[in-house]
């Protein structure tokens, strides 16, 4: 297992590097550089050249990439062109907010979506199943920003129970986490139901029944353990989303997380920030892919041996 993980990690290094290089090339080779965006309409060619030189943008792209990579290897993600903050600091201070939001949404959608999916599967084809899956389908098909706007309209403007936006305490977390989580509840519940039904149809479930095991135990011991495997893998693959998945919701709720940083960085071409974010997302994607496989292996002995 350990050897497998090490091997996978080593193989993923060129992938991450490739992603960052491509991102770098795209950033630098598409027209419109930070200088034009920063200096505005009165920028003289001299002022532009001066700023270009100051930011090191006058160097050939590959030289810049090499310099960037060198710095990254020394743990230096660079400095934001806009805020003059070290990029790691800029990301760090926002990451905690984004994680708080996305993890709340993620965990609660898992904690709600999975039981609902199991419940619907256990009550397959009954009214309870149809109703809960109808709701899940609705959650799943509406975009999160729609929920955001509706939740604000109902709970903030009409009922006045919860604040509209901001991040000043626990009650500020409720609406954005809900808006972000509801579509996820829908997709997780649907997936969990489908996987559970599939396992319930497997012959080993019949075997368990023929052994005299109670329905309850069959569900929780035999069925769920198997149905959990693809669901867990899916959830792990979705985890990089924790970092980047809340841009729209963060904007609607003025949540001071990564969303705004990412949005501003892209809008105003804050290259060092964009590069760092892409690097982090690439690493996380690779890591969580691996983690998903490891978890699948832990849950499924058939995979483990291979």
């Amino acid at each position: 297992m350990l050897r497998y993980i090490t091997k996978r990690l080593i193989f993923s290094i060129p992938i991450v590097l490739g992603v960052t290089l491509i991102a770098f090339l795209i950033l630098y080779l598409t027209p419109g550089d930070p200088v034009t965006n920063l200096l505005g309409s009165r920028a003289t060619p001299e002022a532009r050249a001066e700023l270009s030189e100051k930011l090191g943008l006058d160097q050939p792209v590959l030289v810049q990439y090499g310099r960037w990579l060198g710095n990254v290897l020394h743990g230096d993600l660079g400095t934001s062109i806009l805020t003059k903050q070290p990029v790691s600091e800029a990301i760090g201070s926002r990451l905690s907010y984004t994680l708080k939001l996305t993890l709340t949404a993620f965990l609660s959608s898992v904690l709600i979506g999975i039981p609902v999916g199991i419940f619907a599967a256990a009550k397959q084809n009954t009214a309870a199943d149809h109703i809960s899956m109808g709701i899940a389908m609705f959650f799943y098909s509406m975009p999160d920003f729609w929920f955001g706007l509706m939740l604000i309209l109902v709970f903030s403007l009409t009922l006045q129970w919860l604040p509209v936006s901001g991040a000043y305490g626990p009650k500020y977390l409720i609406l954005p986490a809900l808006a972000l989580g509801l579509p996820k509840i829908g997709s997780i519940a649907r997936l969990m139901r489908a996987e559970t039904l599939e396992v319930m149809r497997e012959e080993y479930s019949l075997t368990a029944r023929a052994k005299g095991i109670s329905e309850w135990l069959i569900m929780f011991k035999h069925v769920l353990r198997n149905a959990a495997i693809p669901v867990m893998v899916m959830l792990f693959l979705a985890l990089p989303w924790l970092i980047s998945g809340a841009v729209v919701i963060e904007t609607i709720f003025a949540w001071p997380g990564m969303g705004q940083l990412m949005y501003q960085a892209i809008l105003r071409k804050d290259f060092p920030v964009i590069q760092a974010l892409l690097l982090i997302i690439a690493i996380l994607t690779v890591l969580f892919n691996l983690l998903g496989d490891v978890v699948a292996g832990l849950l499924d002995p058939r995979i483990r041996v291979k």
Binding site: N125, E202, E203, Y204, L206, T207, A208, R209, A210, K211, G212, I213, S214, E215, H222, R225, N226, I229, L299, D300, P301, R302, V305
Partner: protein, 320 residues
């Protein structure tokens, strides 16, 4: 002494095409320690008969609408869900055709056997673990101590089926329903698995319902045999009697088409015509469209069971 008696059992399934009467009033019984072969073409209702006994028919879409299943003097159809759980795996066990899919892939063989033992607490076992090892040993798995820690995928097909048998018989049931236990296995290991069942049957004194396509298996392993056709039982008799002197036109057709008894029924289109569907079955005798001896009455009236003596029962108007 009768262990199990099935009386006038009706089973129907709600399907897309309509209501399918899958078992149309079947009757048979089995004595303690006896082996009853249950044969018939694919889809005739062998498996659902076995599942009905354990009340494992998925409901909906299936429903037992009529009849009785008397086991050790009690009607199983009147048992509560809880009581049925005690009977399943404890007093009546069932094993299935494909050992590759009938064991849970994420638990070890030992765990799965232990689960049954813990549940039913059979007498004469000192500890769960001893029971597990003993059960594996009884199905001739070498090195049972360490093999118990293996997962199903680490077993070969034959071993898996033996593991399955070990699990199901670990609680010493008085009836085993074996639904084509060797069909999915290599020819070379089929005999071995059947032998394991026969040995344990002798040791535990249990009765076995052996569902199979293979008449050779029937000839070798069974005391009596019931021939099913499209949800009905055509004929029941002692093995020798049935092979020597089949009475039902369907049985006769079967045996006539298969000169050597070790052939599999499904290998041949034995009798012309196709198996009727259960939604709109032929009126009267369900076999009449394919029967060379069909009479007018056969198209109108369902034949009843006729006892020809010495436990030879046939359902055919020829003997009415």
């Amino acid at each position: 002494m009768t262990l199990l008696e099935i009386k006038n059992l009706h089973l129907q399934f709600q399907s897309d095409e309509g209501l399918a009467l899958v078992l149309d009033g079947i009757n048979f019984d089995i004595k303690k320690g006896e082996t009853l072969g249950l044969v018939g073409e694919s889809g005739c209702g062998k498996s659902v008969t076995g599942l009905s006994v354990l009340r494992l028919i998925p409901t909906p879409p299936g429903e037992i609408t009529e009849g009785e299943i008397i086991f050790e003097g009690e009607n199983l159809l009147e048992k509560s869900a809880k009581e049925m759980q005690n009977i399943r795996g404890g007093r009546i066990a069932m094993i299935f055709q494909d050992p590759m899919v009938s064991l849970n892939p994420v638990y070890t063989i030992g765990d799965q056997i232990a689960e049954a033992i813990d549940l039913h607490q059979p007498k004469g076992i000192t500890s769960t673990w001893d029971g597990v090892v003993e059960a594996l040993d009884s199905v001739q798995i070498a090195d049972p101590e360490s093999r118990a820690h293996n997962y199903p995928h680490q077993f070969s097909g034959g071993m898996r089926q033996r593991g399955m048998i070990a699990m199901m018989l670990s609680c010493r049931p008085s009836l085993l329903i074996a639904d084509e236990p060797t069909t999915a296995l290599d020819v070379t290991v089929q005999a071995q698995v059947l032998q394991v069942i026969a040995d344990l049957q002798k040791e535990l004194g249990m009765a076995v319902i052996l569902i199979t396509h293979n008449l050779g298996v029937v000839a070798e392993s069974c005391d009596r045999v019931a021939v099913m056709y499209a949800g009905t039982i055509a004929e029941i008799a002692d093995v020798e009697k049935l092979f020597e002197n089949p009475k039902h036109p369907y049985t006769r057709g079967l045996l006539g088409a298969i000169p050597r008894a070790d052939r599999d029924m499904n290998d041949l289109a034995i009798i012309e015509g196709s198996v009727p569907n259960h939604v709109n079955p032929p009126k009267g005798c369900r076999f009449h469209p394919r029967c060379k001896e069909a009479m007018d009455i056969c198209r109108i009236e369902k034949p009843t069971d006729v006892d020809l003596g010495e436990d030879h029962i046939v359902a055919c108007h020829l003997y009415g």
